[in-house]
């Protein structure tokens, strides 16, 4: 299978870049919504290869980054309790809550386990009937359906010791919030392809029309990103603002009906807080009344948790595309991946981490030397 290499071909990339360079006549600001897209852009140096007029602004689409501190603290509280097996995807373990993270809870004796599927957590619940098993259900429309299915299965199989700590968020309301912000600079969106593969594209035409903004559904490999940028720039130069699917190999306009049905059955839309941004109306899911027994927040009564964000962390502005990571005073000094102040630095998909990991050379003038002077043999 060559489903990855085909979308990293340098020759095709060069052609797309040439086309973008030839098309651009004015400055444009494009937001890639998803942290996975940000990661690809920075890791492959795509931002360095685009015309100067094309600015890529990094959006709020990192599930780890936008999970509120309050929810992280609830996770830490539940995971610390005796008799609990707390299951999570790996990258949530390093996200700092107020003062500590899940790795630290584990080192203090908490039973925190990394799983690769929520169904693994359900299996652990079946194997440990005397323990309470909690799965940390965070993320966008991509991770919500399997998490919904797990709760559905737990109810169907009558597994009473399983519950979900849920903090799911939805992308379209976030796009709406960004576009209605007075300081918004975004002129086009590269929409997250995997989100659309689940949800379809039905919510986007109205957004594009109302805000007169092109929305190009885009994948995650370098050629996907370049094609998305090419189509967005073409629309901008022509004064168009339509929804365009540049990820047709994965996205059907109607989305995934089975996944949508599962979401409809298990979840209901709710207002949701986004870390660093605040509450966005109708931007999240919670378990519907039929499944409330499986809600870990209710089961463990984790309320009244006081949270405290580091005052100097500007990840909220990064997530809204208002500043670039290195424009934060804490970037690379008090805030590094080893000692992160905010989730945008700790998550592998976070914009701050991507800049720190891959762009340190460009961002530290005293250390910068022209790479061209040192050709690789």
């Amino acid at each position: 299978m060559k489903y990855i290499e085909e979308f990293q071909d340098p020759e095709l990339a060069r052609r797309l870049l040439d086309d973008i360079h030839a098309t651009v006549t004015r400055p444009w600001a494009l937001m890639e919504v998803c942290g996975g897209q940000t990661h690809t852009i920075i890791r492959h140096g795509i931002d360095q290869l685009l015309p100067e007029q094309v600015e890529l602004i990094h959006g709020p689409g990192c599930p780890v980054c936008v999970t509120p501190l309050e929810v992280i603290d609830k996770a830490l509280e539940i995971a610390s309790r005796p008799g609990v097996i707390f299951c999570s995807f790996g990258d949530m373990l390093r996200v700092p809550g107020t003062g500590r993270d899940l790795f630290q809870v584990r080192s203090e004796g908490g039973d925190v386990r990394v799983v690769y599927s929520p169904l693994d957590a359900l299996r652990i619940a079946q194997q440990n009937p005397a323990r309470e098993v909690v799965f940390f259900g965070i993320g966008f429309e991509t991770t919500a359906p399997p998490n919904a299915m797990t709760v559905h299965q737990a109810k169907k199989l009558g597994i009473p010791n399983f519950s979900l700590l849920v903090s799911h968020v939805r992308v379209p309301p976030a796009i709406e919030a960004i576009m209605t912000s007075p300081s918004c600079r975004v002129q086009a969106f590269l929409a997250a392809g995997h989100v659309c593969s689940v949800m379809g594209m039905g919510e986007y035409p109205e957004l594009a029309a109302r805000h007169r903004v092109p929305i190009v559904v885009t994948g995650f490999e370098p050629l996907d990103i370049l094609e998305g940028v090419r189509r967005a720039v073409r629309q901008l130069e022509r004064g168009e603002h339509t929804v365009d699917n540049a990820y047709a190999r994965a996205v059907r306009p109607e989305g995934n009906p089975a996944a949508l049905a599962m979401l409809e059955d298990v979840f209901e839309v709710t207002d949701r807080a986004w870390r660093g941004i605040g509450v966005i109306p109708a931007s999240g899911w919670r378990l519907s009344a039929r499944y409330r027994d499986y809600d870990a927040e209710h089961r463990f009564s984790v309320t009244g948790i006081a949270t405290q964000e580091p005052a100097e962390c500007r990840s909220g502005e990064v997530l809204q595309g208002l500043i670039k990571p290195h424009e934060c005073e804490a970037f690379g000094t008090t805030c590094t991946p080893r000692t992160p102040l905010g989730a945008t630095m700790v998550s592998s998909e976070g914009a701050c981490a991507a800049y720190y990991l891959y762009r340190r050379l460009d961002l530290a003038p005293a250390r910068t030397a022209p790479l061209e002077a040192s050709p690789v043999v």
């Binding site: 299978m1 140096g45 790795f103 991770t143 000094t333 991946p337 592998s348 762009r359 040192s374 043999v377």
Partner: protein, 353 residues
């Protein structure tokens, strides 16, 4: 911003460490947390000039002979995996640490820490693998030890091996000898061991035709030294992968390193597995590969010698040491951009989506 992620100002010794009052898994990941533990807890406590070399093996002089001396512990799960077992690893890991100082491994010690309840047949199978690997590597297991811990206090079998070997005259392999212009060679395809282990680890099993590259590298190193004893540094990129090995050399040598991302041999199956899991193959462990920094004038001959050896057939030049950005490793991407290849912090974590 400093050259490395470590900021040692205001630190005290011994522990507690600044931001981790307890040991977390990342302290064993071969990245920044591991380095921190060694630099701020172990090295100050033990002292000594030899330890301060902080190499994979120590170079010591005893009775006029230059010896390489190394130890390593093995806690791999599962005990048997595609391409090898904990027994193979326990030999090859230590033999390779010795080989990276140019030494020919001679004797090994072997410590078994057994968990109450593990089947004797499993212990025997591991012991047979260990013995066979030692014979294949040309070393003798000269001494050993056995301890048993209560059920629930181990993963069946933990192993520790230590080894000694002779360093030939004229061979001086250490990062401080790296100079700008040195050519960086990797001996073959990377990421095989880590992906093979992941493919059979509970909770993550996935079907992939990847076997661990676990192998003794002494013969390959001898073939390289036969061309020229003037190799500057060798490193086997185990925990932390290629990225950690290059970063350690860059930091210890004070030179920069530039690699051409597209030249690093990543097998398709490894690339695909990493893409699915959200991992970077540069950080995935290897157990039968080495990275060499070679003076430019010897590079072609060394490369030819490597390719003539079974374990170096896919040896490739991937980059060079440079004066620019001392201590940093920079990759040129396939598309023509550049990025920093950082030291991993702890262990790589599969991403959420």
């Amino acid at each position: 911003m400093s050259a490395t992620a470590l900021d040692i100002s205001g630190w005290t010794c011994p522990a507690p460490l600044r931001d981790r009052p307890r040991v977390v898994m990342g302290h064993g990941g071969g990245g920044a947390l591991s380095a921190e533990l060694v630099q701020h807890v172990f090295a100050p406590a033990f002292g000594g000039e030899v330890l301060a070399q902080l190499g994979d093996s120590a170079s010591v002089t005893l009775g006029g002979a230059r010896l390489a001396f190394s130890t390593d512990s093995y806690v791999v799960r599962p005990l048997f995996f595609p391409g090898g077992s904990i027994g193979d690893l326990a030999v090859n890991g230590t033999v390779n640490d010795l080989a990276m100082s140019g030494a020919r491994a001679a004797y090994l010690s072997c410590g078994f820490i057994l968990e109450e309840g593990v089947e004797i047949s499993v212990v025997a199978r591991v012991a047979e693998d260990l013995g066979a690997a030692a014979r294949a590597a040309g070393v003798e297991v000269a001494t050993g030890d056995t301890k048993v811990v209560e059920a629930g206090h181990g993963d069946g079998i933990y192993l520790n091996t230590a080894g000694i070997g002779l360093i030939p005259d004229g061979v001086d392999l250490r990062p401080q000898r790296v100079v700008p212009g040195d050519v960086v060679i990797v001996s073959g395809e990377i990421g095989l061991h880590g992906v093979a282990i992941m493919s059979v680890r509970e909770g993550l099993e996935f079907g992939v035709d990847v076997k661990s590259d676990c192998a003794p590298l002494g013969g390959l190193v001898r073939a390289m030294l036969a061309v020229t004893p003037d190799l500057h540094v060798l490193r086997d990129p185990t925990r932390g992968g290629l990225a950690a090995a290059l970063n350690e050399i860059a930091a210890a040598s004070g030179t920069g390193v530039v690699i051409q991302e597209g030249r690093v041999p990543v097998p398709e199956a490894v690339g695909n597995a990493c893409a699915i899991l959200g991992l970077d193959p540069f950080y995935v462990a290897n157990e039968g590969k080495l990275v060499a920094f070679v003076p430019r004038e010897h590079a072609d001959a060394v490369l030819d010698a490597m390719r003539a050896h079974p374990l170096g057939r896919h040896a490739t030049v991937i980059g060079e040491a440079v004066e620019a950005h001392p201590g940093l490793v920079v990759a040129r991407t396939g598309l023509g951009g550049t990025r920093v290849v950082d030291l991993p912090i702890g262990e790589q974590l599969p991403r959420i989506c």
